[in-house]
């Protein structure tokens, strides 16, 4: 949780001077361009690595070829329509069918060529078609498969993430105002509970609220059959949302409050805060102008990372609660060796991350006047 400055601020631009502001603009442009190129390079390497791993460096091809050979041979031998064909004719038929199927999946090209094509398609966001998976509507378009699951994931991650973020920042601020109080000590004492991941609390919540008390559902997005009335449908989804969302919130609320509280306390022991208090400013103003203002870059960074984190979903929590989100889809895609789906979900995350990190630099410069772009090499991130 440290705010970063982009290089040293040795060269101040002269305010008002035309030449100064011009070179400042050039510097910013050059810096942004360098940054953009390095980001893009990072995304390429990251995605290519994912493609390589998702194919076991090409070994998945062998698995898929064997599978095609098996299923095609079985299908033709078991089909009564082909029983009268001679053995050679059958073999020919099998061979052509296998070749067709391999061509359909692109297996006729060597993996090295295909991996580059995967990369190109991924980078241009041309997500293509899944190998084995289908969306609930029956489409094989990766875009549709992912889009179909996106609302459920955003509902879960969004609700829990936003409550978690704003809740912990708000509580941390009020705790930092009166540290050493009972509630403060309680939060410190409870923070080790965050060592356990959400699914762990999820299992306990299912046990208590679904299995023993029988007040909330075990899992899923909505009852089956689902209510017709949109209002009832919404309420029903909310009811299913309670347990997974609280599992996510409970699993990290205390450590989150603790971290923010410590962070705010460090800033509120600065001399200028003492000075402001001595001047007799009221507590609200001190908090807003002297504590929140300098910590704004960190708050924004964390919020931005939270927002892009929403995209990934919680694989295991979704599995435990049978929540039909992106996390569970990714897990299933891996089980099906479905590279396009894996890569599609990775590339979107990679782009979101790269864009966010890139934009954050400018946001820092906007909210924190101390941040300057140096004329030297691009600052470290």
């Amino acid at each position: 949780m440290t705010s970063e400055t982009l290089g040293s601020s040795d060269s101040e631009s002269t305010p008002g001077g035309k030449k100064g502001s011009n070179s400042a603009f050039l510097r910013v442009a050059r810096y942004s361009l360098l940054r953009l190129v390095s980001m893009f390079f990072t995304v390429i390497v990251g995605v290519y690595l994912t493609i390589l791993i998702a194919n076991m460096g090409g070994y998945v091809d062998t698995i898929m070829r064997n599978e095609i050979r098996d299923t095609t041979t079985q299908a033709i031998l078991a089909n009564p329509n082909y029983r009268l064909l001679s053995t050679e004719a059958k073999n020919d038929l099998i061979m052509t069918k296998i070749a067709n199927e391999e061509r359909r999946l692109g297996l006729d090209q060597p993996f090295a060529v295909r991996s580059v094509r995967y990369l190109k398609n991924a980078l241009t966001l041309n997500l293509g078609r899944a190998v084995n998976m289908k969306s609930d509507q029956g489409s094989k378009e990766v875009r549709l498969i992912l889009l179909e699951r996106l609302p459920a994931t955003l509902l879960l991650t969004g609700t829990s993430g936003l409550i978690l973020f704003f809740g912990s920042v708000y509580i941390a601020l009020s705790l930092s105002r009166k540290y050493g109080s009972f509630w403060d000590k309680l939060v410190i004492a409870a923070s080790p509970t965050s060592a356990a991941p959400p699914w762990f609390y999820g299992i306990f919540f299912i046990l208590f609220f679904a299995a023993i008390l029988k007040v909330l559902p075990f899992g899923g997005l909505v009852d089956s059959p689902s209510p017709d009335n949109p209002l009832d449908y919404g309420l029903n989804v909310l009811k299913h949302l309670i347990l997974p969302a609280s599992a996510v919130i409970v699993s990290s609320i205390f450590i989150s409050i603790y971290n923010w509280r410590t962070f705010f306390l460090i800033y509120s022991s600065e001399d200028y805060v003492e000075m402001a208090k001595a001047k007799g400013l009221n507590a609200r103003d001190v908090e807003r102008r002297y504590i929140l203002r300098p910590t704004l870059p960190t708050i924004i960074t964390n919020f931005a990372l939270l927002v892009i984190g929403l995209w990934t979903g919680f694989t295991i929590t979704e599995t435990v609660f049978l929540w039909p989100g992106l996390g569970i889809t990714l897990f299933r895609a891996i089980g099906f060796y479905d590279t396009p789906v894996i890569v599609g979900s990775t590339i979107i995350y990679a782009y979101l991350l790269a864009i966010t990190v890139f934009l954050l630099d400018f946001v820092y410069a906007l909210v924190d006047p101390r941040v300057k772009v140096s004329s030297g090499r691009g600052g470290s991130q």
Binding site: T2, S38, V45, I53, I188, I203, T315, I316, T319, S345
Partner: protein, 449 residues
């Protein structure tokens, strides 16, 4: 030495540290016990064993400690075997060297309020042609002696009390009521269970010199030791053996990750130039890679061995955000005068990195290391829950997986989930509490806030 003493003095002022250390010591004790009593290969054999290993256990039996929380006591399963001496036997040779008689007696206290489900005796012998002969009698606490059965024993014989038609006739009951007839108080109109000392007496005669007859008496109650799963496996095995595995995974991953991160950050900062640039780029690439998804892929495509997973976990965690934090601190200490002095007397780069740069970071390293252990311990369980647990080793995560996919939560078999959950929880809390205390000791800035 005084520094260490001072450190422990300070540590003892934090109750959470003391609690955390006690938990960790307890877990280490359990690990040592598990590793010394059950060798690795034996643990794998038992865990992978089917009916032939676990035949004497009931299925889905809740643990014996259930009785402590309930007013009606339920019968607890047990088994005794004459081969390992838990079933007492006396062998009396006769004048004929070929013939000997064996008396086996087992006396046990029965305090449950319900009759057991079944009792069995498994006989084994090495006879070649002449069968041994055994008669079984049942002695109740009020002194009644019931003749159970008399039969010849070949090499392998299983006697089930409820399945024996002669015994059913003798007791004048159906098969399902045999156990009741054996355990009930005959004078009680409501059929109350008679509590006290029961005896099962096996009197056998061998007609061969090397008959080597052994018997195993098994009582199937409703409860069993630490509970059993659907394959009749004793949960005590994975609970016990999962402890050293969880600790090894958590500690090795935490240690490997934090030390390697530190060394790489120090080397990058010290040498600067392309190395530093490369480390920075690798870190950025690593942020893009989906951590859990890659671990799942490794598990699905390559190997589910816990040690392979451990390696990949470390590999993916080295180039994390921590490298940037360490780098910025190393940047500062690189400029300090004592490094200048070291350089002036001609210290090598390796010496500066390992003797001057890294030791200064230990206060930051240790709390981070201890605090990161729980996340790795839970990671093992998370992977197992996704079906990517080690295929041969008994671990806590495997219990979760079996229980979860067998619908333990839906069918009310809460013990199956709660036992590994509680162990996981205390492990997580133990390390987290110690980590918190260490953080406050090593970083005094946190202490007064």
């Amino acid at each position: 030495m005084t520094g260490l003493k001072k450190f422990f003095n300070e540590l003892s002022r934090y109750p959470s540290a003391i609690l955390g250390i006690s938990i960790i010591l307890f877990l280490l004790g359990v690990s040592v016990y598990a590793l010394t009593t059950i060798p690795y290969s034996e643990a794998v054999r038992l865990w992978r064993g089917g009916e032939d290993v676990w035949y004497q256990n009931p299925k889905y039996a809740p643990p014996a400690w259930f009785n402590n929380f309930s007013t009606t006591k339920r019968p607890v399963s047990f088994s005794v075997n004459s081969a390992d001496g838990t079933l007492e036997q006396t062998i009396t040779p006769s004048t004929d060297p070929e013939i000997s008689s064996v008396d086996m007696v087992h006396t046990f206290d029965y305090e449950a309020d319900e009759a057991p489900q079944e009792m069995m005796i498994y006989f084994r012998s090495d006879i070649i042609e002449k069968f041994s002969f055994a008669s079984i009698t049942w002695v109740t606490p009020d002194g009644r002696t019931i003749r159970v059965a008399d039969f010849a024993i070949s090499n392998k014989e299983t006697f089930r009390f409820t399945q024996d038609t002669k015994l059913q006739k003798r007791l004048k009951v159906e098969a399902v009521e045999v156990m009741h007839a054996l355990f009930e108080d005959p004078n009680s109109p409501t059929g109350k269970i008679l509590k006290g000392e029961y005896q099962v007496v096996i009197a056998a005669t061998n007609f061969e010199k090397d008959a080597n007859l052994s018997a195993e008496f098994v009582l199937h109650g409703e409860l069993f030791g630490a509970g059993t799963d659907k394959y009749r496996r004793d949960l005590l095995l994975p609970l016990l053996y999962g402890t050293p595995i969880a600790l090894a995974f958590g500690l090795l991953a935490a240690l490997g990750t934090s030390i390697l991160t530190m060394i790489i950050a120090a080397a990058g900062t010290w040498y600067g130039g392309w190395l530093d640039e490369l480390i920075q780029r690798v870190t950025e690439v690593n942020l893009v890679l989906p951590f859990l998804a890659i671990l799942i892929m490794v598990g699905t495509f390559y190997s589910r061995s816990i040690w392979v997973m451990l390696g990949f976990t470390i590999l993916l965690s080295i180039f994390s955000g921590a490298i940037k934090t360490y780098r910025s601190i190393f940047m500062q200490s690189k400029e300090s005068s004592y490094i200048e002095a070291a350089r002036a007397y001609g210290a090598s780069s390796g010496r500066i990195i390992f003797s001057y740069l890294i030791p200064r970071m230990i206060p930051l390293l240790i709390p981070a290391l201890v605090s990161s252990v729980p996340s790795f311990v839970f990671l093992e369980a998370s992977l197992a829950l996704l079906g990517l647990g080690d295929p041969i080793l008994p671990t806590w995560g495997k219990i979760f997986y079996d229980a979860f996919y067998d619908g333990a939560l839906y069918q009310g078999r809460y013990y199956w989930i709660l036992e590994p959950a509680i162990l996981l929880m205390i492990t997580g809390f133990g390390f987290a509490m110690l980590g918190f205390a260490l953080d406050r000791i090593f970083n005094p800035r946190l202490r007064d806030v």
